[in-house]
C-alpha cells in the first residue's frame, strides 16, 4: 500500500487549512488517495483552535501591524504561531480500520512523529491526550478532525525552532512578558534545534518525519501534488469558509474563566493558576519556591491541559504524575488541593482566558491565599 506525499512551503493560512480539510473530506469520500502533507506556512501565521475566540487568544493589532495571517484550524486545541521553522503535518486517511477512541487514535497517529524524531536521535513520547514531549517538555501539538464523509485529518505542529519572544507578542498571555516569564514559557517546551543544534535543516526533519510515518503505517510514500479537482476544492473551501470573518472570528457559548490559589506546604510555597473553558481545564500553571525539576512541572501542566476539572479526575492525574516523578518534593494531595482551589475561584469569577497551545497561564500578580 502507498500514500501520496505532498511537500510544500510558504502556505498562506486560508489555503493551507482549506487544503487540509478538503483533502480529509475527499479521502473520506474515496475521491482522493491517503495523503501525508508535510509543509510550512509563510512567515508568520497565527492559527487558533477550532472553538477558540481569536480576539481572546491573539493580539490582533500586533498581527495586523506585522502582516501575520490569522485563521481558525478545523482541529482543536490552543493557538499556535506557524512559520518557516515549524513543520506542519497533515495526514488525511479514511477512518475505517483505525481506532475509534480519540486517545488511541491520537497515539496511533503520533507514532509516525515519534519514529521520525527517533530517526533524528530525539526520544519523544506521546503525553496525556494530545502532546508529544521530550523529557516532559512539549515539542509538538497534535489534533484530529473527523469529517462527515468518514475522513480523518491528523494535524501536528512540530517545533523545529521557535521565536519565543515573537510568539509571546502575537499570542495574548495573562502575564508580563518579561525575560523571566518568557524563560518560564520556554522551559515548558523544546525544539529540534535546541536539542540537536542550529544546523539541522527543516528539509532533513521533514524527510525523517516522512520516513517515520512510512515505517509506522508500513506504507510506501509516492511524491505527488494536488490534482486540478483537489485544488479547485481547496480554493472553494478557502473562499467560502477560511477567508470569511464568520469563520475566523466566530464565538463559542462556553464561558472562559481563570483563577489562582496559593498554598504553603512542607515542600515549599505552591502557586497555581488555572484557565477554564466551562468545566474543562484549558491550561494550568504551577510555580512557587518548591524544588521540582522544570521538566516534571511542564509534564504536569501538559497532562492537565484540556482536562476535566472535577476532583476525582484531577486527583487521579496528579497521582499518576507523582508516581512517574517520585523524586520530587511536591505532595500530590497538596497539589490537587491547590489546583481545585484555583478551579473554584475561576468558576466564581468568569473572565477572558487566553492561552496558546505552547503557553501556560503565567505568574499570578495578586495571589489569593489558599
Amino acid at each position: 500500500m502507498s500514500w501520496r506525499l505532498i511537500t510544500d512551503d510558504g502556505a498562506a493560512a486560508a489555503d493551507g487549512l482549506a487544503g487540509d480539510e478538503s483533502l480529509a473530506d475527499r479521502v473520506g469520500r474515496g475521491t482522493s488517495p491517503p495523503t501525508l502533507r508535510l509543509y510550512t506556512y509563510r512567515p508568520h501565521v497565527a492559527l487558533i483552535g477550532r472553538f477558540q475566540d481569536a480576539a481572546h487568544e491573539l493580539d490582533l493589532a500586533t498581527c495586523r501591524r506585522h502582516g501575520i495571517g490569522v485563521n481558525r484550524r478545523p482541529t482543536g486545541g490552543g493557538a499556535i504561531l506557524m512559520g518557516p521553522d515549524q513543520l506542519g503535518v497533515a495526514l488525511a486517511l479514511r477512518a475505517r480500520g483505525l481506532p475509534g477512541r480519540a486517545r488511541e487514535l491520537m497515539a496511533r497517529f503520533s507514532d509516525g512523529l515519534v519514529r521520525g524524531l527517533s530517526g533524528l536521535g530525539i526520544a519523544a513520547s506521546f503525553r496525556g491526550k494530545n502532546d508529544l514531549a521530550v523529557g516532559g517538555r512539549k515539542i509538538a501539538g497534535l489534533g484530529i478532525h473527523r469529517s462527515a464523509s468518514g475522513g480523518l485529518l491528523f494535524h501536528a505542529s512540530l517545533l523545529v525552532d521557535l521565536d519565543v519572544a515573537l510568539m509571546a507578542r502575537v499570542l495574548r498571555t495573562p502575564f508580563e512578558k518579561t525575560s523571566a516569564e518568557l524563560a518560564a514559557v520556554a522551559a515548558g517546551l523544546d525544539t529540534v534545534r535546541n536539542i540537536l543544534g542550529e544546523k539541522v535543516a527543516l528539509t532533513d526533519v521533514r524527510a525523517r518525519v516522512a520516513a517515520g510515518f512510512a515505517e509506522s503505517f508500513d506504507v510506501g510514500l509516492e511524491p505527488g501534488e494536488l490534482t486540478g479537482a483537489e485544488r479547485a476544492a481547496r480554493d472553494t473551501l478557502a473562499r467560502e469558509k477560511y477567508r470569511t470573518e464568520a469563520w475566523v472570528f466566530q464565538r463559542t457559548e462556553v464561558p472562559d474563566a481563570d483563577g489562582a490559589a496559593v498554598l504553603t506546604t512542607p515542600g515549599g510555597r505552591l502557586d497555581v493558576r488555572v484557565a477554564l473553558a466551562g468545566r474543562m481545564i484549558k491550561a494550568v500553571h504551577v510555580h512557587g519556591d518548591f524544588f521540582e525539576r522544570e521538566e516534571a512541572v511542564a509534564d504536569l501542566e501538559g497532562r492537565l491541559r484540556w482536562h476535566a476539572s472535577n476532583r476525582p479526575a484531577v486527583a487521579a492525574t496528579v497521582r499518576e504524575w507523582a508516581r512517574l516523578h517520585a523524586d520530587g518534593t511536591l505532595a500530590p494531595d497538596s497539589l490537587t488541593q491547590t489546583i481545585l482551589s484555583a478551579v473554584r475561584r475561576a468558576r466564581a469569577t468568569p473572565v477572558d482566558g487566553p492561552y496558546g497551545c505552547f503557553v501556560s497561564p503565567g505568574r499570578e500578580r495578586e495571589a489569593v491565599g489558599g
Binding site: 478545523p74 482541529t75 488511541e104 487514535l105 491520537m106 489534533g143 484530529i144 462556553v254
Partner: protein, 148 residues
C-alpha cells in the same frame, strides 16, 4: 488489559451503529431527538465544545448537524436521519460536559422533524439488535486499548 465495561444503552430508541448517535421519536409529535450514546462518549472523552446548526436548517442523513471538540479531536455530528432542525439544546452549548453527565436525557443535542423516518429508521440499530451491536463494539474497543 482494560477491564470489562458495562454501557448504559437504553432500548427505547434507535442508534446509528457507526457514529454512536441515538435517535428517539416522540410518538405524539413525530419529532425525533438526537444525542450521543454512552459508547460514543467513552470513545470521545469529555466534551469541551459543541456547535449546532440553527433551527430551520434542513439536513440530509449523513450531513453535518454541527461540530464538537473533545480532547483536541473535533468531529462533525452527522445526522442519523434526514429532517429539519426544529430545536437545539442550548444548555449543552454552554456546558458540553452535561452531555457526558446525562447523555440520554439532559444531554440531547437537536430535535428534528424527520422527512424519511420509516425508511431511514429501518437502517438504524434498534430492539433486539442492540445487545449484539453493543457487544461487538465493546469487543472492538477492547481490542484497540493499549496493554500495560
Amino acid at each position: 488489559m482494560e477491564s470489562e465495561r458495562l454501557y448504559d444503552v437504553p432500548e427505547d430508541r434507535h442508534y446509528d451503529g457507526t457514529r454512536h448517535l441515538w435517535v428517539r421519536r416522540d410518538a405524539g409529535s413525530g419529532l425525533v431527538r438526537v444525542g450521543i450514546d454512552a459508547i460514543g462518549l467513552e470513545a470521545l472523552g469529555e466534551l469541551a465544545y459543541i456547535q449546532l446548526k440553527a433551527a430551520g436548517t434542513a439536513v440530509a442523513r449523513g450531513e453535518s448537524l454541527g461540530t464538537l471538540e473533545a480532547a483536541k479531536m473535533t468531529s462533525n455530528i452527522v445526522a442519523p436521519v434526514s429532517g429539519t432542525i426544529v430545536g437545539r439544546n442550548d444548555a449543552v452549548l454552554q456546558d458540553p460536559l452535561a452531555v457526558n453527565d446525562d447523555p440520554y436525557e439532559r444531554g440531547w443535542l437537536v430535535e428534528l422533524d424527520p422527512t424519511r423516518w420509516d425508511e431511514e429508521a429501518a437502517e438504524l440499530v434498534s430492539g433486539e439488535a442492540i445487545a449484539g451491536w453493543v457487544a461487538a463494539e465493546v469487543e472492538r474497543f477492547r481490542a484497540e486499548a493499549p496493554t500495560d
